[in-house]
Amino acid sequence: MKKVKKIKINLNGIPLFLPKGTSVYKVIKKNNLYLNKIAIELNKEIINKKKIKKILLKNKDKIEIVHFIGGG
């Protein structure tokens, strides 16, 4: 069997190993996040939530997923 290549990304400051070709959408689903409650940055650029199925992650990518919390 062919070994799947892994990439190392950073999700909200936490290093994460994923199979090569993983989409941003897959990361969101895996973490049980609701798209209408979050915003996503990939390498400091905001990405369109509608297009995340097509955005595939590369080695060393940095993702930030944010939401609203209590604040003054």
Partner: protein
């Protein structure tokens, strides 16, 4: 009498009290306090999703953004760059355009950095944001913010979380006189009477977080703030009597025995 409506960027609100959602014991207490306060607008902050603890409750589960207007803020931002990044992300969460900008300049006093604040207001306004701006109680700076597109001027009463109440009555009055924009006291309120005074000075609204959230009885304080704002507004609109150093009897002398 003309109906007294509170309008921010062409949107009407019933309550002139805006409350923060930080520093509560938990989301349940926060949502109860909001209900008790009667506020239509709450400030919220933008932070990383907790990836390691997926079961942790989130704000939106307790406070429905369809029923209460979320006002995303830039709490904790110390530069224009950070503030812009935060609000662009907030907009992306769900189309929020009405935002509260605060760019802090000093970690100890949490006083605003007005140079960075002014820069950010201009950029955000050009990008289509409706920017409510936390600022110093400085009439000149308030004017400049208005000139670059702010939709509301939000001068501090005193440093954030200090509970000191309004420190500079004169400046607040000058700002009131010079602007037709909504003027909202933001930060430094300690007790209900501070909110009343803000409204009596002619402010259009008051934003309170710590004074409610950290009170011994937050729900009771939320109710107190609600009525304090209403009382202050009514008092302001009613036209107070002149101050005098002489006494004037309240009862007629006619028929005196």
């Amino acid at each position: 009498m003309k109906k007294d409506t509170f309008i921010i960027s062409s949107k009407k609100f019933n309550s002139r009290l805006i409350v923060g959602t930080g520093k509560y014991k938990n989301f349940l207490e926060c949502s109860k306090a909001i209900k008790a306060s009667g506020a239509n607008i709450v400030t919220v902050a933008v932070r990383r999703v907790n990836i390691s603890d997926k079961k942790k409750p989130v704000l939106m589960d307790y406070i429905d953004p369809k029923k209460i207007t979320y006002l995303p803020n830039t709490a904790g931002c110390f530069s224009s760059e950070e503030a812009l990044r935060t609000l662009r992300l907030a907009r992306e969460i769900g189309g929020w355009r009405l935002v509260k900008l605060e760019v802090l300049g000093d970690k100890k006093s949490l006083l605003p950095d007005m140079i960075e604040t002014l820069k950010s207001t201009e950029v955000l306004s050009k990008e289509g944001f409706k920017v409510m701006v936390y600022c110093n109680d400085d009439p000149l700076m308030a004017k400049r913010l208005e000139n670059v597109g702010a939709v509301a001027i939000m001068p501090l009463a005193a440093p954030i979380g200090s509970g000191l109440g309004i420190q500079n009555y004169t400046n607040i009055k000058i700002i009131r006189k010079q602007t037709k924009l909504p003027l909202i006291i933001d930060a430094g309120i300690g007790e209900a009477s501070d909110a009343t005074i803000a409204m009596e000075l002619g402010c259009d609204g008051v934003l309170v977080n710590t004074a409610i959230a950290q009170a011994k009885k937050p729900l009771e304080m939320a109710i107190a703030m609600k009525y304090a704002v209403i009382a202050g507004r009514k008092s302001y609109l009613s036209g107070r009597i002149k101050k005098s150093l002489t006494g004037f009897a309240s009862t007629t002398k006619k028929g005196i025995i």
